[in-house]
């Protein structure tokens, strides 16, 4: 059997070779022209031939004849000769006599007529080859119309041989031809079954079959022993072409799991040869049996996508870390084998599927590249800036700006006198970031609607550059808060609705607040004072000073005004200050902190005497010990420039985990790294982070150590261990000792230009320095000049060039194209629909 198969395969490869090479050879001579006598007497038994009869060529049959002539070569490969039989005029025999017969083609095997084809069944080469082979391979390819027929065939095959089941929407198509051509080779190995009934497809397991496209399934019936058990099916996931089907059948024929006892680098299987990856299950004696079953399970899942091999570590002396259990070898040369530690077969599958997806995309790109030259230019003028694109997609919508006062050069100064606090957004109506902020600004205006003493306004610096220059606005957008009689404050926080709203609200109070009595100080620490802010959660700082510490007090006053809008500051330096400081166990000068997140008041000694240092200190002290990291607060922690220990969680983290992590954060090591957690529900982009780290989303919660600022290694805390302070600390020790392998390393790559620019310099130089479109009238001058230069080479080049220009200019004279200049790019707008799909 296998010898025969080999022969078939080799003849098949020969066919493939022919199919590739024939178009170049142009074997027109293969079409024989014979008389009826010559033809019928020359027919050899068991040799098939397709014949058609003609007197003279009638006009209607012409296209059909052409197609038949075109398919001569294709049929020749299958040993089928095509004969044009010339009927003598007087002949009235069976084939030549009837006018009707002349509109048909006849398939003979030997001198037995197998089928006659009406010409409309033979409309092109595909249909001719498909139909002829279909007729010849009557036994090898069964045609079924009902489910029962299919099941009968399937049942009959169980335990004996495998089945190839193909659905084509119609016969005579290219897919039909491909199936037939493969059946010609594999017909004796597998049973082929063909249908055009879409209903049969529904039952094959694919839930939503696409009946418009052909499909092929390999049914593994040979190993089915129990008649009641259905055959497993593996669909071909690519288009039905001879090559793809052949490849699929080859893969199905390969052993499910290959046992390997050599270095994986040396191993080569059908899969690798066919460009598919090979997954190694790294096993050992103790678990070999179980691993074999895992491998088999995986092999079924990956059938047609990747090969699976099992490697016993005991038999090969490999320098592979004991901890890895899976290896992946890709068909690309020079790519080292990847050794991985995976927990779940699903991970292997996603790994393989993602890989093949990536590869497919790459392949497509490669194909595209050939006709890429023009496309490259197309890409260049496609917007790849997410902010610009988002804003321009929204430009038709009118923003609800009724809560925001529009200021001009004339109204600006009078408007500043109206409210106690005027917020001004300076923006440029052409600039994307400004417009994005303007959207958030309208939301801020909505939040603050009805708040006394706050006026939100905007100045479009594109219309009123003067006032923007006067107000020292050098970049867009700029947000300033003007208070009567004070220097305006420039907002320098996150350009988002919440942050800006809170800044505006907190800025109402001039900080630091001087508190006059103990009671006021207490109420301030409880958030009840100042009353404007009592309904806002915010962090507060109270400076406690004795009368002797005036220098520190001054520095604190300055720090308070710097932090104004971000943190509320107050100070207390009355005579009874000691009573207050005793209560919080500090001695002046000291700071009392109340975070927005907790009610507790903490006391810290104030040792700095410089305003900037105090600002730094307050900022640092206000950071949480074990924060939930979000898009908004990450930058605060990034500034510490420490490694991150992040607990990724889908939803809130468990109480015990939280407690353990907090213990860890409080511990002695807290200076060395930032421990935090990330709630994927609140920060979905965290999934993107996990994908970048592990290619797939690992089981959650996942504890990850990221060396953000040094080396970029990412380590994952073993998920079988429970998250406790002790476990984590010992794991961290191992990390430090270099005993763990990183799951991945963050890219160190610089941010390069996403796409090239137009090379105008090259274009200008190619066109000679003095080149313009309008050069035609100066041809003579130029040629004279060239002669003076005496450079013949240049002269010819430029001569050609000016000719070209002449042509262009002539074209340009044509009427009706005159709007081009005034309404440019209208024609090019369609292109806008295409966008970059990635950053």
């Amino acid at each position: 059997m296998s010898a025969q198969e080999d022969r078939w395969v080799s003849s098949f490869s020969f066919l493939l070779f022919c199919a590739v090479s024939i178009p170049m050879l142009g074997c027109a001579s293969l079409l024989q022209e014979l008389s009826p006598h010559e033809y019928f007497s020359g027919l050899q038994a068991s040799k098939a031939s397709l014949a058609y009869f003609s007197h003279t060529v009638s006009a209607g049959a012409q296209p059909f004849l052409e197609q038949i002539e075109n398919s001569v070569e294709a049929l020749h490969d299958y040993g089928i000769s095509v004969v044009k039989v010339k009927c003598p005029k007087e002949d009235v025999s069976r084939y030549c006599g009837k006018e009707n017969a002349l509109r048909k083609a006849y398939l003979f095997r030997g001198n037995v007529l197998i089928r006659e084809f009406p010409t409309d069944a033979l409309f092109d080469v595909n249909s001719i080859v498909a139909n002829v082979l279909f007729a010849l391979l009557f036994n090898e390819v069964k045609y079924v119309e009902t489910l029962t027929d299919l099941q009968n065939i399937e049942n009959a095959l169980k335990g004996k041989s495998n089945m190839v089941f193909a659905y084509v929407p119609a016969t005579g198509t290219a897919e039909h031809r491909a199936v037939m051509e493969v059946a010609f080779v594999y017909g004796t190995v597998h049973q082929f079954v063909l249908t055009t009934e879409a209903t049969l497809l529904k039952d094959t397991g694919s839930k939503e079959p696409d009946v418009s496209s052909a499909q092929l399934l390999f049914c593994h019936c040979q190993q089915v022993t129990d008649l009641a058990q259905p055959c497993k099916r593996t669909p071909l996931e690519q288009d039905l072409t001879v090559l793809n089907i052949h490849r699929h059948l080859k893969l199905m024929g390969a052993p499910l799991v290959t046992e390997v006892a050599e270095d994986p680098e040396e191993v080569s299987t059908v899969h690798l040869q066919l460009g598919l990856p090979l997954v190694f299950i790294l096993s050992q004696k103790e678990t070999y049996e179980a691993d074999w079953r895992t491998a088999e399970f995986l092999a079924w899942k990956l059938l047609g996508k990747a090969g699976v091999a099992i490697l016993s570590r005991d038999r090969v002396n490999l320098n592979i870390l004991r901890r890895t259990n899976v290896a992946l070898k890709t068909p690309d040369e020079g790519v080292p084998i990847k050794y991985l530690l995976l927990e779940d077969t699903e991970e292997v599958i996603t790994l393989v599927e993602d890989k093949s997806k990536v590869k497919q995309i790459q392949e497509n790109e490669d194909e595209d590249e050939e006709d890429e030259d023009e496309k490259e230019n197309d890409n260049q003028d496609m917007q790849d800036d997410q902010v610009v694109e988002a804003v321009s997609r929204d430009k038709k919508r009118e923003l609800p700006l009724d809560q925001v006062l529009t200021l001009t050069e004339e109204t600006f100064h009078s408007a500043m006198l109206e409210a106690a606090q005027t917020v001004v957004l300076f923006y440029a109506s052409w600039e994307a970031v400004s417009l994005a902020v303007l959207q958030s600004y309208t939301e801020v205006a909505d939040h603050l609607k009805g708040t006394q003493g706050i006026l939100l306004s905007r100045v479009n610096c594109w219309d009123w550059p003067g006032v923007c220059t006067m107000e020292n606005v050098t970049q867009f957008p700029t947000i300033k808060i003007y208070k009567k009689g004070e220097q305006p404050i420039t907002y320098n926080g996150m350009l988002g609705t919440e942050e800006l709203t809170s800044f505006i609200v907190l800025s109402q109070v001039s900080c630091p607040l001087k508190l006059a009595t103990m009671d006021e100080a207490e109420r301030y620490l409880r958030g009840e004072l100042p009353s404007e802010l009592s309904s806002y959660h915010h962090s507060l700082v109270l400076g406690v000073f004795s009368t002797a510490t005036s220098k520190v007090r001054e520095a604190f006053t300055e720090a308070g005004s710097i932090l104004s809008g971000h943190v509320t500051t107050g100070m207390y330096f009355e005579d009874d200050v000691l009573a207050l400081s005793h209560k919080y166990a500090v001695s002046p000068p000291a700071l009392l902190l109340a975070r927005s997140s907790s009610q507790r008041v903490e006391g810290i000694a104030l040792s700095k005497e410089n305003a900037q240092d105090i600002v730094q200190m307050i900022r640092y002290e206000l950071l949480d010990l074990f924060p939930e990291i979000t898009v908004q607060n990450l930058p605060h922690y990034l500034q510490l420039r420490k490694p991150f220990l992040i607990l990724f969680s889908d939803g809130d983290i468990g109480r015990t985990e939280s407690k353990e992590m907090l213990k860890l954060a409080r511990g002695r090591s807290q200076q060395a790294f930032v421990s935090c957690w990330l709630n994927l529900k609140n920060t979905p982009v965290g999934r993107g982070v996990l994908k970048a780290y592990f290619a797939t989303i690992p089981s959650l919660p996942a504890l990850v150590w990221v060396n953000l600022h040094a080396g970029g290694q990412v380590f994952k805390f073993p998920s079988e261990q429970s998250i406790t302070e002790i476990n984590i600390l010992s794991w961290l020790e191992k990390l430090k000792a270099g005993l763990e392998i990183p799951s991945s390393t963050l890219s160190e790559e610089d941010w390069k230009p996403p796409l090239p620019a137009y090379n105008f310099l090259q274009m200008m130089e190619a066109a000679a320095p003095e080149f313009t479109l309008h050069a035609s009238s100066h041809q003579e001058d130029r040629q004279e000049r060239q002669q003076l230069e005496g450079s013949e080479e240049k002269a010819t080049v430029r001569g050609e060039l000016t000719e070209e220009v002449g042509v262009k200019a002539e074209k340009a004279q044509g009427p009706g194209r005159d709007l081009r200049g005034t309404a440019p790019r209208l024609a090019g707008r369609e292109k806008q629909a295409r966008r970059h799909s990635e950053l």
């Binding site: 988002a390 350009l495 930058p635 440019p824």
Partner: protein, 562 residues
């Protein structure tokens, strides 16, 4: 005009000495002076003035005079009556073909019998040459009456060959110097041959009542001592003193020429000879002197690199100096500190680019951009058809062929040397750059279109700087911050400094739709909410992870489920 100057002097508190004519300027060597010498000026009252630095803004006030027989009958533009009534019914000949000649003609066109204009060169129309010194359309009514009604007329001829004779009735006849030289001296006026005697359809055979000279002006060189070496320019620039592109005299250090007289720098190219242009070049000279003598460097603003595209777009749309003094004044962008920061210098004379560091007191060590406005090369010019089809370019990728005034940005990795400046290609205002960008001309002269103007500019800048200048929402920056060791400049200078761009939910959606932002929140929903089946299955996969964790080694049981 007078009021404008008065206002100017009043606002700036200038101490102007009126009614003072400087009649002589000389040098006095003195090592204490800024430039090694003092300028000594004497006025008509023999009072003298001494200074270290002399700014000459005397314009070109000496009328050009042509001497030919009979030129004594000619009236000058500077003295001729501007009252049209004085010309009622007269036949007038105007010598010259500039704006003043046409202005004079325009003024009296309605009342004269007819007007003829004679000059050596053909008429040049400013809308064809893009040079305001050529005939402006507001003055060219005479072209209509010439071409459409055949009343008034233009003639070309060399004035040197001309002669004018006055007959007894006071009418002026045109003849040629050639005839005059051969005349019979005793015969008086009747003895002079007139061209029409031989050629009876000679164009200017009709006698004229008046001949007006409108031949332009030149700089007054007469008051300068030889030691100042104030030399007239060469060729058609002879009416202007020779100066460097820094507006300093070629002959004397410390002497600067301003205003119309400084036009030799950009004669027939830009607007330096006219008030709308020289007010910018004068300011440039002020800044050069501030740096040279007072140690005040050229004013500049420092921005983070993320503002590079925006600052260029803002300037090319708003800067009047760049616009009026196209190809002469340029904005200079000096890169600093690994191109994370840049310094913006406005309206620097492009001709002294090589001396930038000494002239401005700024450092150009890490490369620079030069932003200028240019017309298409060879588009405009004498006798060119500036109305041909497809004269305007609409596609950004063909921007280099733009014909109308448009911004051009030159990139140099290092400052060009003086030698390179001297050898620059004839049609280029600057030496060959390392890269060049044209922002495509715009019908509205508004270069703020995101895709046609800003995007190609950003790509150019990105490729010069080899970085990524895109804007990102905070969410993208968050992802980059946790998954890459380096951040793009926008995130580095914004998000990482707690100034990220959060963006509204609506904009986020748009970005997701455009495929420029991945929406990870989608994964939270269960698979059936998604139309895309493939995505759905991936969701399913995710859910599996969350619900049941099956370590690889224990997975064997699952086989039966399959």
């Amino acid at each position: 005009m007078v009021r404008y100057l008065e206002d100017f002097a009043a606002i700036l508190g200038l101490r102007v000495r009126y009614d003072t004519a400087v009649v002589h300027v000389t040098l006095e060597k003195d090592p204490r002076a800024w430039n090694g010498h003092y300028f000594v000026l004497s006025d008509q009252n023999r009072q003298s003035y001494k200074c270290s630095c002399l700014l000459v803004a005397t314009g070109t006030w000496v009328p050009n005079v042509v001497n030919f027989p009979g030129s004594e009958y000619v009236e000058g533009y500077e003295t001729v009556s501007t009252n049209p009534e004085d010309f009622a019914g007269q036949t007038v000949l105007i010598l010259g073909r500039g704006n003043s000649a046409f202005e004079t003609a325009e003024n009296i066109l309605g009342v004269t019998n007819f007007i003829h204009m004679v000059s050596r060169s053909r008429v040049r129309l400013s809308w064809a040459t893009h040079y305001v010194g050529d005939l402006r359309a507001i003055n060219n009514g005479l072209l209509d009456t010439y071409q459409l009604k055949s009343l008034d007329g233009l003639l070309e001829g060399d004035l040197e060959d001309l002669a004018i004779v006055k007959d007894k009735k006071g009418k002026l006849h045109i003849t040629l110097r050639f005839y005059l030289e051969n005349r019979n001296t005793s015969a008086g006026i009747d003895g002079i041959t007139l061209p029409q005697d031989e050629l009876d359809n000679f164009a200017t055979r009709a006698p004229y009542d008046r001949v007006i000279r409108c031949l332009g002006w030149k700089f007054d060189f007469s008051i300068y001592n030889r030691s100042l070496r104030m030399m007239p320019g060469r060729g058609n620039k002879s009416k202007y003193p020779q100066i460097k592109p820094s507006y300093e005299s070629r002959g004397t250090r410390g002497l600067f020429v301003l205003g119309t007289a400084s036009h030799s720098v950009d004669f027939r190219k830009s607007a330096g000879g006219f008030i709308h242009g020289f007010r910018y070049t004068t300011r440039a000279v002020h800044r050069l002197l501030e740096n040279r003598h007072h140690g005040v460097p050229w004013p500049s603003t420092v921005y983070p690199i993320t503002q590079l595209t925006n600052s260029i777009i803002k300037r090319v749309n708003e800067a009047s100096g760049l616009y009026q003094m196209f190809s002469v004044l340029a904005d200079i962008i000096l890169l600093r500190e690994n191109a994370t920061v840049f310094e913006y210098l406005e309206e620097y004379p492009v001709g002294i680019l090589a001396e930038l560091e000494t002239q401005t007191g700024r450092k150009a060590s890490a490369g620079l951009f030069v932003v200028v406005m240019e017309y298409g090369r060879n588009f405009s010019g004498d006798d060119k058809d500036v109305f041909y089809y497809n004269r305007a370019v609409g596609e950004a990728q063909h921007a280099w062929q733009s014909n109308f005034l448009h911004p051009v940005i030159y990139y140099y990795k290092r400052l060009p040397t003086e030698r390179e400046m001297r050898l620059h290609p004839p049609d280029w205002p600057l030496p060959r750059p390392d890269a060049i960008h044209h922002i495509v001309e715009d019908f509205l002269t508004d270069w703020t279109a995101p895709n046609a103007h800003i995007l190609p500019l950003r790509r150019f800048l990105e490729n010069c700087l080899s970085t990524d200048l895109r804007n990102f929402f905070a969410e993208s920056c968050f992802l980059f911050a946790l998954t890459r060791q380096k951040l793009p400049p926008f995130c580095q200078q914004g998000y990482a400094r707690m100034q990220g761009l959060t963006g509204s939910e609506r904009l986020r959606r748009h970005a997701v739709e455009a495929g420029l932002l991945e929406d990870y929140a989608v994964m939270d929903f269960s698979g059936d909410k998604l139309p895309d089946s493939r995505q759905g299955s991936r969701d399913h996969l995710l859910k599996d992870h969350v619900i049941a964790l099956r370590p690889l080694h224990h997975f064997v049981n699952a086989k039966d489920e399959f």
